[in-house]
Amino acid sequence: MQEHILSILIFFPALAAMLGFVVHKDGAKAYGITVAGIEFFLSLWLWHIYDPMVSGMQFMESAPLVSAFGINYLVGIDGISLFIIILATFFTLIGILSLTETRRVKDMIITLLFLEMTMVGVFAALDAIVFYVFWELSLVPMLYIIGAWGGPLRIYASVKFFLYTFTGSLIMLVGMLFMAYFYYQATGQWSFSILEWYRLILPANFQMWLFAAFFMGFAIKVPMFPFHTWLPYAHGQAPTIGSVILAAILLKMGTYAFVRFSLPLFPDAAVAFMFPIAILAIIMIIYAAMVAYAQEDIKQVVAYSSISHMGVIILGTFAMNVEGISGSVFLMIAHGVVSGALFLLVGVIYDRRHTKLMSEFGGLASVMPRYATIFGIMMMASVGLPLTINFVGEFLSLLGFYKQSHSYTLVAGTAIIVGAIYMLSAYKKAFFGPVTKEENKHLKDVNRTELLGLIPLVVIAIWLGVYPKPVLEPINNSVEAIVQLMHDKAQTPEAQKRIPNLATTGTMNSVSEAH
Amino acid sequence: MFEAIAFYLFAALTIGMFTITVMTSQALYALTAMAAGMIFISAFFFILGADFLGAIQIIVYTGAVMALYAFGMMFFDTTRSVIEKRNNPRFVVVLGALAAVLIVLIVLAPIVTTNLNSQHPIDLNVGNTQAIGMVLFTKYLVPFELAAVMLLVAMIAGIVLAGKKMDKSLTLMADEEIALMQASSHDRTEEEGEH
C-alpha cells in the first residue's frame, strides 16, 4: 500500500464520488465527511511515512500512459508538494464539515470529492501532461460550484474563471509541448517527465520563450497582476466552500508550478525575468492591498488580500535562494490556512445575514464575541503577526528576496503596512463601533459545527507559527535540492551569480568570507 | 483552317446559347438555349475526334437530361417568365468576368512540359468508340461500375423523393397519429384484398 499511496490518495476520492451517486441525499454530507476524513488520514499517514531527510521525490509510481509520445502516469512527492496535498485534503474535510449549503448537497459533495482528486493529482504529478490533466480538470468542479451555488453574478464569474485560466493554461500546454520537443531533439526520445526535463539544459533564448509560455498559465492561475480580475468575481460569487478551496488550494497551483517548473527548468530565464516579475509582484502587493482597502464587501477584501499575499509568495519564489523559496512554499500553506479560514468566517455571517457588505454590519464584536475573536486571530495571522503561520512565510520570502534586491524588498515590504491598513479597517467596520442595525442585534454566535471547522484552523495557524519546523524542514530539504539544481544548470553569469551554490559554501557565512 | 473556323463558330454559338440560358427570364428560352448549347458542344467533341463522347453528349444531355428538365418545368409550372428578385446583378457579372479574366490570364500561357508519354495513347488506327471501350473496361472498369452504383443511387433517390410516401411526413406526426394512419391504411389494403 505504501508504494501506491499516492495513487490511492488521488483516486480514492474520485471513486468515492462515483459511489456517492448511489447515496441518498440525506446522507450525502455524512458520506462526504467520511470520505474526506479517510482521505485526510491517508494524507497524514503519508506525512508519517515520508522521510523528511530525503530531498528528492518519494513514493514515486510510474505507469505508461501514452508511451509512444512519452507520456507516463508518473507521480511522486517531495517536501514541497507533501504539505500542499495535506492542505488540500484537510481543507476538503474542513469544507465539508462546515458546509451549510442546503441546496443539492449531494451534487456539491460529489463535486467536491472530484475536486479533491484533481487537487491532489496536480501536486503529486511528476509528468507534465498528467499535471496538466489535473490542472485543467480542477477547473470543472470549481466551475460547477461557483456557477451552481454562487451569487447573482455566478454565471459570469464562473465562466470568466474557467475561460481565463483555461486560456492561460493552453498557452502553457504549447510550452510543455515545446519542452518535450526540445527533449526529443536532445535525446531522441519523447518525454514529459519533469524529472527528465530537469536534466535538460536549454539555450537561454529558448528558455525565455518557454518561460513566458509557462508564465502565462501560472500567472493567470496565481493570479498575478494584471491577470487577476477573475479572482474577485470568482470569490465574490462563489459559495463559501468554493472560495475556501479556491483560495486555499487552487491558487497555490500557480505558485507551486513556478517552483516545480519555471525555476528548475529555466534558471537563466527565471533570473532574467526576476526583476520584471518582482515588479509585478510588488504591484500585486501594493495595488491589491489598496483595492482591498477600497472594498465595501468583506469577502472582496479577503479576495484582494489573497492577491496581495500571492505577490509575496511570488517574490519569495523568485528570490532564487533557499530562504526565499522555502518561505514562499511555507507561505503557500500559511496563506491557504489563513485565507481559507477567513473565507469560512465570512461565510458564517453570510449564512446569518445573506449580505457581505461591511456597511450592513458594525459592532459585531459585542454580539458575536467568539466569532470576533476567531476572526481577529485570523486577521492578525493574515496581517503577518509573528508567531502566526503567515509571518514565517512572509519573513522568509522577503528575507530571501532581500538578497537579490534591497530596494525592491523595501517596497515590497510595505505589504506589512498596507496589509494592516485594509485588514484593520475592514475589521473595524464590521466588528467595532456600536451595533447600528436592528437585524444584527440578535445574531447568533458561531455554533458548534462552525467551530468544528474553525478551531483546527486557528490551532494550525498558531502551531505552525510557533513551531514551523515539522513542515519547514522537509520543505527546506527539497528546496535545497532545487536551488542546487538551478545553480548547476545556470549558464548566464547573471544566473550563476544570483543563484547560490549550496554545494561549496555549505553553511553560508559571510563573516568567515570577510576574514 | 476548317477546324479553326468551326471552333470559332461553335464557340460563339455555345457562348451565346449559354449566355441566353443564364440571362433570360423565360424558363423555356433557357431550356431551349441550353439544349442547343449542349448540341453545339458535341460539335467540339467531334472536331476533337472524340466521337463517342459527342454521341453520348447528344444522347444523354439532349435526350435524357433535357427531357427530365422539361418534365420538371411542366411540373413546376415555370413555363411563364419567372420573376427573379435580384440583388447586385452587376456584382455577379463582374465577379464572373473577373474569374474568367483571372483564369484566362493563366491559361494564356503555353503549357511547358517534357512529360509527353501518355498513359492511354490515342491510336488513330482504332475507332474512337472501340478504343474508349478498351480503356473503359480495363483501367476504368471500377469507376464504370461505381458510376453504375451512382446511377442506381440517383435512381433510388429520384424514386423515393418523388414518391407518394413523401406526402405525409411521419417526422412531423405524433406517434398516435401514425398508429391511426397505419391502422386505416391496413384496413384499406385488406378491403382491397377482399374485392
Partner: protein
C-alpha cells in the same frame, strides 16, 4: 487493330474492392428484402446494415494486416490504392457508420426510417466514401464523392420536413458547384501533367520542376475550393450550419465525421506533396484557411442559439484545426489527424446522440429550432445522468483533459510545435479557449439554470435502449480515451509512416 488484352485475375487484386463490394451487396440485399416483403420493421434493416458493415470492417482490418506485412496494395489496374491512409480512414468510416446506424432505432418514428431504401442508400454512401479514399485517381475520387454525396442529399431530404428539404437543396446546389470546381481543377492538372492520378501528377510536376506554376496554382485553387466545400473551410462552409440544422441530429453527427475524414484523406493525398515540394503559395493559403476557419467559425459558434447549429460551427472549427495537419505535413501531424478524428468521432457521436434523444416532434410555442439552449436548462435537476454525460462531451470537445479530444488536440499542437509552426500552435491553443466558451454555455444552461417547465416532458422521449447504449459507448470512449491513445498512436503511426506520409 487493338490486340486483345489479357489480364490475369490474380494481378487484378480484385479483393481490394472487397470492402466496398460488401457494402454494395449489403445495400442490394436490403433492397431485395424489401422487394420480397415490404413494411418490415426498421430494426431488421439496421441489423442487416450493421452485419454488412461488420463484414466490411473485417475486410478492411484484414487489409490492415496485409498492409503491415506487405505494404501498399494496388489493384484493378492500379485504380485501387490500399495504403495506410485508405485503411485507417476506412476503419474510421465504417466504425463511425456502425455507431451511427443504430441511431435509427429511436422510440419515436421518423419518416426516413420507414424506407428500406434509407438503409440501402446509407450503405451505398459508405461504399462511395470507401472508394473515394481507396484510390488516387481523380476520376475515381470524383465518382466516389458524388455517389456518396447524392446518397447523402437524399438521406437528408428523407427526414421529410421543410427544413430538411431546404437543407438538402442547399447542400445539393452547393455540392453541384463544388463538383464543377473539382472537375475544372482536375482538368487543369490533367492539362499540364497528362495524368489524373495523384502520384503521377506529382511525379510529372516534379519532372517539369513546376514550370507551369500558373496552371498548378489554378488547379490547386479549384481543388481547394472543392475540398474547402467538402471539408467546410471558410468561406466554403456556409452550407454546414444550415444542413446540420435541417437534418436529423443523427445524420448531422454522421456528416460531421465520415464525409470529412474521406475529404481529409483525399486532401492529404492531393496537397501534401505540393506542400512538401515547396509550393509556398499553398503553404500560405493553407495557413490562412486553417486560421480563418478555426477562428471565424469559433466566433460564429459563440452567438448561436441552437445547440445543433453551435455544434455545426464547432465541427467546422474542428475541421479547420485538423486541416492544420495537412499544412504541417509531417508524419506526426498526419498521425495526429487520424488520432484526432478517431477521438472526435466518439465525442461527436455522443454529443449528437444526446441531441437526438432529446428530439421532440413538434416545436413548442416560441421554439424556433429543435435544440435551443433553453431546452437544456436545468437538466441537472431533471435528468442528472444525461446532463453529466452531455457535459462530458462538451468538455471533451472543448479539449479539457483527460477526455478524448484533449489527446488529439495535444498531439496536433505537438505536431505543429515539432515542425516549427509555433504561431500556428498558439493560435490553435487560443482557439480552443474561444471554443470553450460556447461549450461552456451549454454546461451553464444545464447545470446553472432553472429548468424550464415547457420543455419538461420532451426530454429523452426519443431514447431507446440502443440509443442509450450508443451514448454509453461514446461516454466510455470519451472518458477512457487515455487508455486507447497509446495503441491508437502506435497503429496509426505505423500505417501513416509506411504509406509515406
Amino acid at each position: 487493330m487493338l490486340e486483345p488484352i489479357t489480364v490475369s485475375l490474380a494481378s487484378l487484386n480484385v479483393t481490394t474492392m472487397a470492402p466496398m463490394l460488401i457494402a454494395i451487396v449489403g445495400a442490394l440485399t436490403i433492397l431485395s428484402i424489401d422487394l420480397f416483403k415490404d413494411g418490415l420493421h426498421k430494426s431488421l434493416y439496421v441489423m442487416v446494415a450493421l452485419l454488412f458493415l461488420l463484414l466490411d470492417l473485417g475486410a478492411v482490418v484484414d487489409f490492415g494486416t496485409i498492409f503491415l506485412r506487405n505494404g501498399t496494395v494496388l489493384g484493378m489496374f492500379n485504380m485501387m490504392l490500399i495504403d495506410g491512409l485508405a485503411i485507417l480512414s476506412q476503419i474510421i468510416i465504417v466504425v463511425a457508420s456502425m455507431l451511427f446506424i443504430p441511431l435509427a432505432l429511436t422510440s419515436k418514428r421518423f419518416h426516413e426510417y420507414n424506407y428500406p431504401e434509407y438503409f440501402a442508400l446509407f450503405l451505398f454512401m459508405i461504399a462511395g466514401f470507401q472508394f473515394m479514399v481507396a484510390t488516387d485517381n481523380l476520376i475515381m475520387i470524383f465518382i466516389g464523392l458524388e455517389t456518396a454525396s447524392l446518397a447523402l442529399y437524399t438521406l437528408i431530404a428523407l427526414h421529410n420536413r421543410s427544413k430538411s428539404f431546404e437543407a438538402a437543396v442547399k447542400y445539393f446546389t452547393m455540392g453541384a458547384l463544388a463538383a464543377g470546381f473539382f472537375a475544372f481543377g482536375s482538368m487543369v492538372l490533367y492539362a499540364i501533367t497528362g495524368s489524373v492520378e495523384i502520384n503521377q501528377i506529382a511525379l510529372s510536376l516534379a519532372k517539369d520542376e513546376y514550370a507551369n506554376i500558373g496552371y498548378v496554382l489554378l488547379g490547386i485553387t479549384f481543388l481547394l475550393a472543392a475540398f474547402g466545400f467538402k471539408l467546410s473551410m471558410v468561406p466554403f462552409h456556409t452550407w454546414t450550419p444550415d444542413v446540420y440544422e435541417g437534418s436529423s441530429a443523427a445524420l448531422a453527427g454522421y456528416m460531421s465525421i465520415v464525409p470529412k475524414v474521406a475529404g481529409f484523406v483525399v486532401a492529404m493525398r492531393l496537397f501534401e506533396f505540393l506542400v512538401h515540394s515547396g509550393v509556398v503559395w499553398l503553404q500560405v493559403i493553407l495557413y490562412i484557411i486553417v486560421v480563418v476557419t478555426m477562428t471565424a467559425s469559433n466566433i460564429w459558434a459563440l452567438v448561436q442559439s441552437d445547440v445543433k447549429r453551435m455544434l455545426a460551427y464547432s465541427s467546422i472549427s474542428h475541421a479547420g484545426f485538423v486541416m492544420a495537419a495537412i499544412l504541417i505535413g509531417s508524419t506526426q501531424s498526419n498521425t495526429g489527424l487520424f488520432l484526432y478524428w478517431a477521438l472526435f468521432s466518439f465525442t461527436n457521436l455522443g454529443a449528437f446522440t444526446m441531441l437526438w434523444v432529446n428530439r421532440q416532434k413538434n416545436l413548442i410555442a416560441g421554439q424556433s429550432s429543435d435544440h435551443p439552449y433553453e431546452k437544456f436548462s436545468g437538466m441537472i435537476r431533471t435528468m442528472p445522468m444525461a446532463a453529466v454525460v452531455m457535459a462530458l462531451f462538451m468538455l471533451s470537445l472543448a479539449g479539457v483533459p483527460p477526455f478524448a479530444l484533449f489527446w488529439g488536440k495535444m498531439y496536433m499542437i505537438g505536431a505543429a510545435v515539432s515542425s516549427g509552426y509555433t504561431v500556428l500552435a498558439l493560435i490553435m491553443a487560443l482557439n480552443s479557449a474561444i471554443a470553450a466558451y460556447y461549450y461552456l454555455k451549454l454546461i451553464v444552461f444545464m447545470f446553472m439554470k432553472e429548468p424550464m417547465a415547457a420543455y419538461g416532458e420532451n426530454y429523452l422521449l426519443n431514447a431507446s435502449l440502443s440509443l442509450k447504449t450508443i451514448i454509453g459507448i461514446a461516454a466510455v470512449a470519451t472518458i477512457f480515451a487515455v487508455i486507447a491513445v497509446n495503441p491508437l498512436l502506435k497503429v496509426i503511426t505505423l500505417f501513416v509512416y509506411n504509406s509515406g506520409y
